[in-house]
Symmetry: D2
Subunit: 459 residues, 4 copies
């Protein structure tokens, strides 16, 4: 079981959606390495408290660099306990520090704290930088296309115009909001070093202030302690963290859906990048599919339901049961596939073909009817008592008879009487729907500025 090639794997996270940069945090090898880090911090603290000598620190630091995951697993195979196996493997190499390895700790002190550490590192060092790159790309597009007219679509039906930059600015904002949420929930992740049942029973045997000892040990690792814990850290900070990732994935999935719908043959307003040698279909040579966007949506479908596991893992009997152990080992899959999707989305947005002409043409399809809204608003403004119904009947007539709505308006005396009261600007908007943009361009700009400021982007 110790040799392998990635194609002997079962999980697509391991053969297809790998993010090499995350291996050092989220692989099983990394997991063991982080656990070693926590065990080392314990020895350092014991030395600081003169419980063991400083030589022990040197010794342990040499040993831990040589720990092989394979060996730990072999020992685990023998004694059926993962952390004890790790401790034994370290002890085998130790001399002076032998008695002190893991002294006063329970397995979960090591496992939970190591997991928190590596989740934080993966998030801060890889995932957030990756999302920020996507955010920048979105800002670039939103600014560039802030004046590009596009028909707004609600219920899949043409509505009132926006600009493409405005539409993208929405994602700038939603993604920006999620980045902040990931940062916040990540900062609230806490560690623990409180022993078998959380009451510092063991540490109390030889340390005066075991809770202070915990605080300093965790500080060494860059973490704060939970207020109180059982054998394990209270689960809610992890719950919030996973929620922040899953809900960020949802923003990606929505963007992916929007972009691939805009790529529908009949709409054709954007196009996912497609290389010269790329094949779209094994049988239809003409096909160019939004397959990256589809893949992002699909991975969201695979990962999103796993929030249920996270909620179920909130429940642990008394000072803990172990039914959250195997399940929590799947959290890295969520982080990896999310980051993989962020990276692919960034590439798609970077290479996105934006067809402004087609956006204009699609808008033109509905230009005649679009003015129904400004018309009914202005009729109301000039005190028409039932403007919506008046205009609705007229526009429905135009749809039914396939007639120009503008013409019908111009022939309607009642409307004419109101129209005459319109200001010059109001008249112009009513007759030129492409001017009926509201604050779309301005808002696009403002949102980009807001998030550039928040993230210190200089673009």
């Amino acid at each position: 079981m110790m040799t392998n090639n990635i194609f002997a794997n079962f999980s697509p996270t391991d053969y297809r959606y790998r993010v090499a940069d995350l291996e050092q945090y989220l692989s099983e090898e990394a997991c063991i390495r982080y656990q070693v880090l926590v065990e080392t911090a314990l020895i350092k603290m014991l030395a600081k408290n003169t419980i063991c000598s400083k030589k022990c620190v040197n010794e342990i630091e040499k040993i831990v660099n040589k720990i092989q995951t394979k060996k730990v697993y072999e020992e685990k195979e023998r004694i059926g306990h993962g952390i004890r196996a790790l401790v034994n493997v370290i002890k085998d190499e130790a001399k002076d520090s032998k008695p002190y390895i893991h002294m006063g700790a329970t397995s979960a002190d090591i496992i939970d704290t190591a997991d928190i550490l590596r989740f934080k590192d993966a998030t801060e060092k890889v995932i957030i930088p990756d999302i920020l790159k996507l955010e920048k790309e979105l800002i670039r597009i939103a600014e560039l296309e802030k004046n590009t007219i596009q028909i707004g679509r609600t219920h899949g039906q043409h509505a009132t115009p926006v600009t493409f930059g405005f539409a993208i600015a929405l994602y700038v904002d939603r993604l920006g909001n999620r980045i902040l949420n990931i940062k916040e929930t990540c900062n609230k992740l806490v560690g623990m070093f409180s022993g078998a049942v959380g009451a510092y029973n063991a540490l109390s045997l030889y340390i005066k202030n075991p809770d202070k000892f915990e605080t300093l040990l965790l500080k060494e690792l860059g973490l704060k302690p939970a207020h109180i814990s059982t054998q394990v850290i209270p689960p809610e900070p992890i719950t919030d963290f996973v929620n922040s990732i899953i809900s960020s994935f949802g923003v990606l999935a929505n963007l992916a859906d929007d972009m691939r719908h805009l790529q529908r043959t009949e709409i054709s307003e954007v196009k996912e990048p497609f290389s010269n040698v790329q094949v779209g279909s094994s049988t239809m040579p003409q096909k160019q599919n939004p397959e990256v966007l589809e893949s992002i949506k699909s991975l969201w479908k695979a990962m999103m339901p796993r929030m249920i596991t996270t909620y179920a893992d909130q429940i642990s009997e008394h000072q803990r049961d172990l039914t959250n152990s195997a399940s929590e080992r799947y959290v890295p899959e969520i982080l990896v596939t999310f980051d993989h999707s962020v990276r692919r989305m960034t590439k798609v947005m970077k290479g996105l073909t934006i067809n402004r002409d087609r956006m204009k043409q699609n808008f033109e399809m509905s230009a005649d009817k679009v003015i129904a809204e400004p018309l009914q608003i202005l009729l109301s403004y000039y005190k028409h008592p039932n403007a919506h119904e008046k205009v609705r009947q007229l526009v429905m007539k135009s749809i039914k008879n396939n007639a120009s709505f503008k013409d019908l308006i111009s022939q309607d005396n009642e409307i004419k009487s109101y129209f005459n009261k319109f200001t010059k600007e109001q008249k112009e908007i009513s007759l030129n729907p492409e001017k009926y943009l509201g604050l779309a361009p301005q808002k696009a700009k403002e949102i980009c500025n807001l998030w550039k400021r928040k993230f210190g982007f200089k673009i």
Copy 2:
């Protein structure tokens, strides 16, 4: 379909788990009332901007008090549109304000803002006060029982001792943390008044600064606006809010599980209140079941998966599709059943019978073996190179032979040589496991003080 008795209902939320206090926020009647509130705020703003007269404000305020949900639904039946139906019903009664009702708004401006408002009100006025009552109850128990010894249980197996107050303090902390989370996510809920596609197209026709208009209108209602929106508010604030409720429900479910397991016949450390006339089983007269606790866990199972719906509702095509409309109508069910569960949990904790004698007896079952941990720690402390394995073999022997572990220790020369080095206090703890409590009592106290301070409790 307009007359009803609650037992003609399909959803248990409506016949069994109702919280009458929440009807004014979360029933359909309340929903319409909040929508009316938003429509009224619009008229007020129009008057402030001298677009309509102040008379309109008076008029609308009189009308809206008389709106009947039934009438709105009848009009909806006719025209197939909920908000337009509401507008028509208001208009029917209006004179001066007729043209201005709903002017510049899209349905979602009203619906989404009204929902945010009523969710906030329900949370701030009923749900949070209810959880605070539960929190107080937990604090009361944690303080009272901070010195009550209880065997710690991990994997369902006796571990190292804690106190019952310490065990409850864990829930004081987790619930306290969730209350803060609900408050935070609730405060981040934002409103919207940006029109059909979010670009203020309609408002721009007659207002200079439509985004400022939005801000002031929402301020009137006690809300802040979204940075940017489509036809609907960006979904993530709602996502986080629902996560805060669902994860709070998880804390309740865990507490319920713990309490009912402690009520198992063989454990019998606590008992759910049980009245004199109460029947536990329709066939076994002797039964006294933890049925309220079971019901809380069961409602958690019913509500928790609905987070999936919330995540799915993050995805809406382009400027919105309507596939989040029916699904979001089920959010009130989550809030109601959660609050119902909080209230029932408070009653259970208030009336909880705590059997200190039984806690002591259960602890005694394992007292002999419990000292294995302090022993191996202290052996390590005094430089035994393989203390855990040494003690493990001895304690397993004692288990296998059903012999006293203390006796085995006292007969073991190797251990004796170490034992002699122990301090007086260390010796005492090793021999008197009921003293092996670590910081349990102290932590229980500290956690209670922490949250009493945070919530300003004077108890």
Copy 3:
């Protein structure tokens, strides 16, 4: 709490998505009525076994017609037990049968069996007939439109042609398959009458063959018994039944998505029925939205995740815990909203406007490129070693240069040399993409016939 109007309800199932025809099976009132039915069956069996007199049967039959849900709930309020409350209410009216009411039964015998019965009745008497109506409607369209050319779409991109009837026939088949699945899983629902822990302890006190007694009692109700049970029926038959409903809902959701995407302004191949007075938007008078289709998708999003609850309810400690009790009370919501959606979908399909001209036009958009597939296949057939790549390069050139693919082909000597080998029919299809329909019309017909036969439809 005993008076109500439907708008005081919290769940939209109760104020908005009600199916009146299902009240007699799935409301709480119906629930009590079915429980009474099971209690009555017990008395009948006791009389048949001469344990009580036949007078008791008459007596009970008179009583049960008068049972008021309200009274049962009042008694439940007092004694805290639902079934015992029901028993007490019946007993209050009884004389001779007083001792025999509920004798030998446990609450779950009554509750579980009653639930199975009413779920079966609701399914067989309302839900399946409703789906069959939808199935008929789909068959009607599939047959009518079996020759209507439509461009096939994969990845949202034009692919190879089908017919609209063929596309609908797919749903005829999927829905047909689900109807059979619902029937099968419904038929496998079993009842139970085995007492407090499933071992017939109580019945054994006065009946020789208590398992035979159970079988006959259930036969009276039209059910078969579980092979073995605890206090409750083994959960898997219910699991499979709910899966059959949820997966049927998925077919509806997919059909709804397809139809609403075909209604997109740019595609416009179909249109949901829209009445003359109907309002599509409260601000944009021109809007005609696929709101029923959206609502169906949305209800699917609300109900689908509840399968998680069903899976969680598979787990019950030892002879049962009660944590599946509150949660299972929400199953009727699933059934009601599913049936509601089936009915609305039937109306949409009945009134669907099908725009054959637009289907033709949309097909024409891609007619030139569509022949890439038949061309590469036939080149292969005539031994071209790399037909796909050859054609791919040519068609990509045509896309890039916005040139006619047909023209490029006719100018390509290599292709010409193969083309000359084509049969007449092969040439015709290659040049007339509208003939490249494969078996689409034939399959549409066959599938319709298959399911008409299976369901005995005469249409």
Copy 4:
């Protein structure tokens, strides 16, 4: 990215819960091999139809044995299409068969059919045999312990007695039922060979009866075709199959919960096997935890929510979108971890320590109160009008006063008057609760026989 060790993996399925026997079906390498199998079947069918020569069959059979997954992935990297990459790699080695590779197929014909094949093979060749081993083990225990008295537990409270064999027989039945369900749903999995949009467009170019061609091709592979398909197979057969696996996992999870609760220190009726060198806790040497049982429950929590993905994958736009592609790649994880759990559960049950003495002792705890049920039943039988309430008051008094219930009964004149009417056997059961077993032993035996017969077990 092409070299690896299993500890560089992210998913625990790949480093910790691997089932080596499933690699040949469910790894990515296996996936490619099965796809090759389908491509080969196509060439065979073309040869049978004399479209290509028999030499092609020989040629392809030689080639496919040498296909390297690595090469396919490298080509995929270049052209961005998985199946086309595979086709290219095969073609590179081919001469005569070059034109015919993949001719008339679309990628999904290959992918979907290959997946169905390998899921079936994995299920039939590994998973079902593994579950049958567990079933046998459960039958062994149920038969052996059919007379071992155990207190029945409902709501975690002592109820009415059963036997341990009876309790296990429940799982024999539930698991047996699931095995049948897995077999059924597995048999209903169908393949497909109908081209780009499901209408056999391509095949029709050179084959008379393309649907017959599909049927024969699939027969060659041991499959039946879908009635009709789009580009992909209708999803419902897979939905039902995954439901059968997930719901089987639920049965395992329930059994795991039951066994670990019975292992609670205070109950101690069973014990998971524990080796001599095994370590239960890294700090508490005395611990022996039910960690395998906990792990099974935990994996259920990780996998069960993935049903949501399966339901979401039912929805695919028009002739298909690709958003089910990445997500479906995670189905093997479900199968692997389920099989892993089945195997571990079998080991646990095989080595389970059953403590009959402790079962008896636990039963004795409640023996005095247990007779409350038979007493109230028999009082009713002898026409006491309110037996339950009469007995309830008496037994509550005994609980409150910590007095013997038997004594209270014997002192109660009213009860005495009824008791005198009891038959000898009825008296005996009332006074000797260990005889109040109902049909428990008999049912245990019957259920075992039923499933031994169904599965042809000779044990």
